[in-house]
C-alpha cells in the first residue's frame, strides 16, 4: 500500500480498540518470568555451551601476541576464537569498527577473543588465563583538544553538515539583544537492563541466532556480510528485548561471537556481553560541544539563530546531529547550522534515544532560557513569540500538525507556572532553594517502509507476523489493537508474532518510528486481508463492515471465521510512503516543566515535580505511550544530573564502566511525574494518523532541569551533567 495522500476516514477511526489504554498483552509473560529472553532460550536448541568475551585492554594500538595455551588447557574449554583463527571476516554496513578486533585495536574493550566452554564459569575462568601482549599506540581521546582539527562530515542522516538561510552573521552582529554561549554534553551510555545477548546454532551452513536486537533486518544483513555468507542463511529471532534505547539497533559482538564460537565448538553457544563491556565494547551517545548564537529584537522576536556542534567518532563513524531541531523549532529569517566531526579513538558513537535532538535540545533550550533572561521576557512567552507554523528554511512547507504553543500554554496552566519568580533564588522550602524550569520538546516524525503478514484461521483468530520488535515499548499491544480494529475482532482473537527475520521486514524499533510505521504496515496487510475475506464471502469489499467477529453488508452477516472454513487466508503487504514528508514537515512537539530543589548547603539537586504535555498525533495506546514518555523523562533527569561516561584521556576509555560508576536515576530521584497528551490526529503521517512519541519524551527534559536549577540558584551551568560541584563555588552559604 502506498500512502500518498492524506488519510481520510478509515476503520481505525472507529476507535473501538485503538486509542484505549489497554494493558500490554504480553505483560503476564513478563511479570511471571516466562517471556523468553535471548540468554534464556534453553527451549530452542539442546547442548548449549557458553561464551565469555575478552575485551581489548588498550584503547588504541596492536596486539603483539596472544598466548592461549593455558586457557585452552583449562577445564571445560571447547574453543577459543580470535581474529587469528576466525577466518576472513567482513564488517557490517552499520559498524564503524570490526566487532572482533586484532591485530589492530580500534578501541578499548573491542572484543579480541571469545572463550567457549561447557559452563559459564569455566569460560570465564579460562578467559582470564589468556595472555595478550599489546603494543600501545597513540590515540586521540579528547574531543575538546581535537575540536580545531574537526572536519566537515557528510552525514548519512539528519541533513547536511552546513545550512544557511539569509545573512546570519550580519543580522546577529546587529541584533539589539544577543546570546553567544557554548554548552557541552558528555558521552552517555544506553545502560539498558538486559545486556546484548545471543544464542547461536548452526545447521549445516545455516545459522540461527536468538538475540536481543531492535532492527532484525539490519542485523541479519550485517551478520551475513560480516560472515561472508548469503543473507538467506542467517535467521535472527528476537521476540523479547530487555531495553535497547538505540544500543541494540545494530549487529554487535554478542551475535558474531556466539556464531563464531558455535562454529568453532561444533555446538550451540550463547554469549552475553559482561556488564563492564557494555560501556566500551558497544555504542554510546557521543559527547558534544555546542555553540549557540541567537540575535533578537527587544520584543523577543528572534532574527538570527545559529547552532554549531562538534562531536567525535571513529573514522568510519557519524557525527551527532545536535543541530537538527534548530533548523525547525523557532522562527527567524537568518539562520545557520554547522556540524563538525573530530576523529577520535574512543568506542563508536551512535544512536541513543532521540539521537541529535536529545543532545541538541539540552543546549538549545538552555540558550532560549538565557535569552529570555536577557530580554526580561518569560521563557514560555518567548517560545510562543517565536513559534512558526512553517519550516523556517522553506516557508512553503507547513508543519502537518504543530501544537507547540498549546503544549506550552496548557502545561504552564497545569504546572502553576505563574507561581514561578523570574528572579532566581527567591523561593525556599526550609534548606531547599526552589526553582522552576521549562523547555520545549521537539523530535521529528520519521516515515519508513514497514511490512506485515496477517492470517485468518477457521477459529476466527487473526495472527500478525512481522519482524517488528518490542523493546518494552508496547509493540505487541498496539499491533494487536490495530489488527483487532481492522478485522473487527476482540483483542483476545489476535495473536502477534514479532522479531523473526523469517517474517516480513518492518520498520523495526528506532527513531521513535516504530509505533506509527509498524501499525501502518499492519493496517496495509489487514486492508488486503479484508479484501480477500470479502471476496471469499461474496461481499463487496468497499461495503463490507468488519465488526464483532462478523462481516456484514446490508442485511447479510457472516461470521468472520467462515471465510477460513476451507483453509487459512493470508495477506501480506507493506506501507510505503510517497512525498507527503517532503510536502509537509512532520514533527512531534511538547513542553516539559520541572521543579527542583537545590540544597542550600550541599548544592544537591533533587527533582520535585515534572510535567510533560505532548502533541504527537493519534495516541494508539495512552497507557503504553505514557509509559514511554515518563520513562524518557526519567532518562532526561539522568542526562541532566548524573549520566556521564568519563573519558580517561591517557588510557583512552570510559572509566566508569559499570552501573555503580555510571549512575542513572533510581526511584528516589523521580518523585512525581505527570504527563498529558493533547488531542491530535495527523492524517499526513499515515493511515494510523499517529506519530512517534517515545523519543519526544526525552527531548528538552535536561534543559528544563537545568533551567529550574538556574531559577533556584541563579547559577547557570552549561556543562552537563549538572552536579553539585559545579554549583558550590557560586552558591552562597547560609
Amino acid at each position: 500500500m502506498r500512502f500518498e495522500h492524506p488519510a481520510t476516514f478509515n476503520p481505525i477511526d472507529q476507535l473501538k480498540v485503538i486509542g484505549h489504554p489497554t494493558n500490554r498483552i504480553e505483560g503476564p509473560l513478563k511479570t511471571t518470568g516466562t517471556a523468553p529472553y535471548a540468554y534464556e532460550r534453553h527451549d530452542v536448541v539442546a547442548n548449549q555451551a557458553y561464551g565469555y568475551v575478552v575485551g581489548s585492554a588498550i584503547g588504541k594500538g596492536r596486539i603483539g601476541s596472544i598466548d592461549l595455551e593455558a586457557a585452552k588447557a583449562a577445564p571445560g574449554v571447547l574453543a577459543i576464537v580470535t581474529a587469528d583463527n576466525a577466518g576472513k571476516l567482513g564488517k557490517g554496513e552499520r559498524n564503524a569498527a570490526p566487532l572482533l578486533g586484532g591485530p589492530e585495536i580500534a578501541h578499548y574493550h573491542q572484543a579480541v577473543a571469545v572463550v567457549v566452554a561447557g559452563t559459564f564459569e569455566q569460560a570465564r575462568a579460562a578467559a582470564q588465563l589468556i595472555r595478550i601482549d599489546y603494543a600501545k599506540g597513540d590515540g586521540k581521546f579528547d574531543l575538546a583538544a581535537e575540536r580545531d582539527n574537526a572536519s566537515t562530515p557528510d552525514p548519512k542522516i539528519g541533513g547536511p553538515a552546513d545550512t544557511a538561510v539569509g545573512d546570519f552573521a550580519a543580522v546577529f552582529a546587529a541584533a539589539p539583544v544577543q546570546l553567544d554561549a557554548t554548552y557541552t554534553t558528555p558521552d552517555q551510555c544506553h545502560a539498558m537492563m538486559e545486556p546484548h545477548a545471543s544464542t547461536a546454532a548452526w545447521d549445516g551452513d545455516k545459522l540461527t541466532v536468538w538475540t536481543s536486537n531492535q532492527m532484525i533486518a539490519w542485523g541479519a544483513e550485517d551478520m551475513a556480510k560480516t560472515l561472508g555468507i548469503p543473507k538467506e542463511n542467517v535467521r535472527l529471532v528476537s521476540p523479547y528485548i530487555g531495553g535497547g534505547f538505540g544500543g541494540k539497533l545494530f549487529l554487535r559482538a554478542d551475535v558474531l561471537l556466539a556464531a563464531l564460537g558455535a562454529r568453532a565448538a561444533g555446538r550451540p553457544v550463547k554469549v552475553a556481553l559482561q556488564r563492564p563491556l557494555m560501556f566500551n565494547n558497544t555504542t554510546h551517545r557521543p559527547a558534544t560541544i555546542q555553540r549557540i548564537r541567537i540575535g533578537a529584537e527587544r520584543d523577543g522576536r528572534i532574527t538570527a539563530i545559529g547552532h554549531e556542534s562538534w562531536s567525535g567518532n571513529l573514522s568510519e563513524g557519524e557525527p551527532d546531529m545536535a543541530v537538527s531541531q534548530t533548523r525547525l523549532l523557532y522562527a527567524g529569517a537568518n539562520r545557520m547550522t554547522a556540524t563538525r566531526l573530530a576523529a577520535l579513538d574512543l568506542p563508536e558513537g551512535n544512536a541513543m534515544r532521540a539521537p541529535g535532538e536529545a543532545s541538541g535540545m539540552m543546549a538549545l533550550e538552555i540558550a532560549i532560557d538565557e535569552l529570555a533572561d536577557r530580554l526580561g521576557i518569560d521563557p514560555v512567552a518567548l517560545r510562543i513569540t517565536n513559534d512558526t507554523q512553517v519550516d523556517p528554511e522553506h516557508p512553503e512547507r507547513h508543519f502537518s500538525q504543530r501544537q507547540l504553543v498549546q503544549c506550552l500554554s496548557d502545561g504552564a496552566a497545569r504546572f502553576g507556572w505563574d507561581r514561578r519568580n523570574p528572579k532566581p533564588g527567591q523561593l525556599r522550602d526550609g534548606r531547599w532553594l526552589l526553582g522552576m524550569g521549562v523547555a520545549a520538546a521537539f523530535r521529528n516524525n520519521l516515515l519508513t517502509k514497514s511490512a506485515a503478514r496477517v492470517r485468518l484461521d477457521q477459529l476466527g483468530t487473526v495472527t500478525v507476523e512481522t519482524d517488528m520488535t518490542d523493546i518494552g515499548t508496547g509493540s505487541y499491544t498496539i499491533i494487536a489493537q490495530t489488527a483487532a480494529e481492522m478485522m473487527g475482532v476482540p483483542l483476545e482473537k489476535v495473536a502477534v508474532r514479532l522479531g523473526d527475520s523469517d517474517f516480513p521486514v518492518s520498520c523495526g524499533s528506532g527513531g521513535q518510528w516504530g509505533g506509527n510505521n509498524s501499525t501502518a504496515g499492519v493496517y496495509a496487510a489487514c486492508t488486503k486481508l479484508r479484501e480477500t475475506i470479502a471476496q471469499k464471502l461474496g461481499f463487496n469489499s468497499e461495503q463490507a463492515v468488519f465488526a464483532d467477529g462478523t462481516v456484514s453488508s446490508g442485511n447479510r452477516s457472516v461470521p468472520l471465521a467462515h471465510a477460513a472454513g476451507d483453509g487459512d487466508l493470508v495477506a501480506e503487504d507493506a506501507i510505503e510512503y510517497g512525498d507527503l514528508a517532503k510536502t509537509y514537515q512532520q514533527s512531534t512537539f511538547g513542553a516539559h516543566f520541572v521543579e527542583v530543589g537545590v540544597d542550600a548547603d550541599t548544592a544537591e539537586i533533587r527533582v520535585r515535580r515534572m510535567l510533560a504535555v505532548c502533541a504527537a498525533g493519534r495516541i494508539l495506546n495512552p497507557k503504553a505511550a505514557r509509559s514511554q514518555v515518563i520513562g524518557a523523562m526519567t532518562m532526561g533527569v539522568g542526562a541532566a544530573l548524573m549520566e556521564d561516561l568519563v573519558v580517561d584521556k591517557r588510557h583512552g576509555l570510559f572509566v566508569n564502566h559499570d552501573l555503580a560508576g555510571y549512575e542513572v536515576p533510581v526511584h528516589a530521584d523521580i518523585p512525581h511525574q505527570d504527563m498529558v497528551f493533547l488531542d491530535e490526529t495527523d492524517p499526513i503521517s499515515s493511515p494510523m494518523k499517529a506519530k512517534g512519541v517515545a523519543e519526544l519524551g526525552i527531548c528538552g527534559v535536561a534543559a528544563a532541569v537545568a533551567n529550574a536549577v538556574h531559577n533556584a540558584t541563579g547559577v547557570r551551568v552549561r556543562e552537563y551533567p549538572i552536579t553539585l560541584d559545579k554549583l558550590l563555588d557560586t552558591l552562597e552559604i547560609d
Binding site: 588498550i58 572509566v655 536515576p665 553539585l724 552559604i733
Partner: protein, 316 residues
C-alpha cells in the same frame, strides 16, 4: 573466577585457625563485595571459609551498658534494632543511607567494615592500581578522581573507604573484637582498625592473617543529638561524595566523623575541641593536611558546608 575450596567454619576460633593454616584463605559472610571481586579476579582466594553458621548474629547488652553487635548481624537488622535506634541513632541512619535494601539484607557488620574501595581503577584489571597490584602505579592520580580521597592519601593511592556504617561507628568509638588463630582475642579501637594507604595501600587494616572479627562493641550511649548526612548526586544507592556523622551535646561539645574523604573514616578528636570556635576551625583542623585533585577539590568546601549544616540542624 579461580577455583577455590570451601569449608563451613564450626567456631570462630576454628575459623581463624583454618584461615591461618590454609594458604590464601578468605572468610566469606554476606559476600556482597567479595563475590564481585572474585568474578573479576581482583580477589583470588584459594580457599573460602564460610562463617555464616557461627552464632555471631546477636546484639547483646554489655556489662558496661553498651551493645555488642555480632559480626554477622545483617545491616538491615542492625539498623532496625530498637536499642540502636534509641541510643545510637547515628548508626541506624548511616546504615540506612548505605547500599540498597537487598544488599543490606545480606551485608554483615564485619563485612561492611572490611569492604574494599570502589575506585573504578581498582575494578579494571587492565589498568594500574597499587591496591590491586602493588607496584603497578595509581591510575586514579591524574585520572578520574572525583570520588577520591582529599586527606590522608599517599602518592601510591588516593582511594576512599566506601562504608557509611564505619563512619558512624567511628563517631561512636566502637571497638572491634577479634579472635586470632591461636585462640586469643583482642579488642581494636575502630580508629586503629583501618590504615591509611601509605606505601602499602593493599594492606587496609591492622588485622593479622587469620584474625576474625567476632563483634563490634559500642560503649554505653553518649546521648546528644545524632545525625548522619550523606551527600551524593543520586538520591539513593550511591556512594558518598562526602558524609558526616555527628553527635552534638546540649553544651555544644560533640564528635564528628567524615566519610568519602579518606582511606578510612575520618575523625580527628583534636578537631572536635574546636567546635565552640565554629565550623571553619573544625574543618581547618580536619583538613589541615588535605591534598586534592582538580576533580575532587570540591570535597573540601562541600565537607565544610555539610558539617555546618549538620551542626546547625543538630543545635536547633
Amino acid at each position: 573466577m579461580r577455583s577455590f575450596s570451601y569449608e563451613r567454619a564450626t567456631s570462630p576460633g576454628a575459623a581463624a585457625a583454618a584461615a591461618a593454616g590454609t594458604a590464601n584463605a578468605k572468610f566469606i559472610a554476606g559476600g556482597t563485595n567479595l563475590l564481585d571481586l572474585m568474578k573479576l579476579e581482583i580477589e583470588t582466594p584459594a580457599h573460602l571459609i564460610d562463617v555464616n553458621g557461627l552464632a555471631l548474629d546477636r546484639i547483646e547488652e554489655t556489662a558496661e551498658g553498651g551493645l555488642r553487635i555480632g559480626a554477622l548481624v545483617r545491616n538491615t537488622d542492625l539498623a532496625a534494632d530498637a536499642r540502636v535506634r534509641r541510643d545510637y541513632g547515628v548508626l541506624s541512619r548511616a546504615l540506612l543511607a548505605g547500599a540498597s535494601g537487598q544488599l543490606r539484607n545480606k551485608a554483615t557488620t564485619a563485612g561492611n567494615l572490611l569492604q574494599r574501595t570502589r575506585c573504578p581503577y581498582f575494578y579494571d584489571t587492565n589498568l594500574p592500581c597499587n591496591k590491586r597490584k602493588p607496584g603497578s602505579g595509581c591510575a586514579a592520580i591524574g585520572g578520574f578522581s572525583r570520588q577520591h580521597a582529599v586527606v590522608g592519601a599517599s602518592e601510591a593511592c588516593i582511594a576512599t573507604h566506601p562504608s557509611d556504617m564505619a563512619v558512624a561507628m567511628r563517631a561512636l568509638d566502637a571497638v572491634i573484637e577479634t579472635v586470632r588463630p591461636d585462640g586469643g582475642t583482642r579488642s581494636i579501637p575502630i580508629a586503629d582498625l583501618h590504615r591509611l594507604p601509605g606505601d602499602n595501600p593493599e594492606i587496609e587494616t591492622v588485622l593479622q592473617p587469620g584474625e576474625l572479627i567476632t563483634a563490634v562493641a559500642l560503649p554505653k550511649p553518649v546521648g546528644g543529638t545524632q545525625a548522619y548526612r550523606k551527600v551524593r548526586d543520586r538520591a539513593s544507592y550511591a556512594f558518598a561524595l562526602v558524609s558526616v556523622a555527628a553527635i552534638v551535646q546540649p553544651d555544644g561539645t560533640g564528635r564528628v566523623a567524615l566519610g568519602g574523604v579518606a582511606h578510612k573514616p575520618w575523625r580527628i578528636e583534636a578537631a572536635e575541641a574546636e567546635l565552640p570556635r565554629g565550623v571553619k576551625a573544625v574543618a581547618a583542623r580536619l583538613f589541615a593536611d588535605a591534598k586534592s585533585t582538580r576533580d575532587n577539590a570540591y570535597k573540601l568546601p562541600l565537607a565544610e558546608r555539610t558539617l555546618a549544616a549538620v551542626l546547625r540542624e543538630a543545635r536547633t
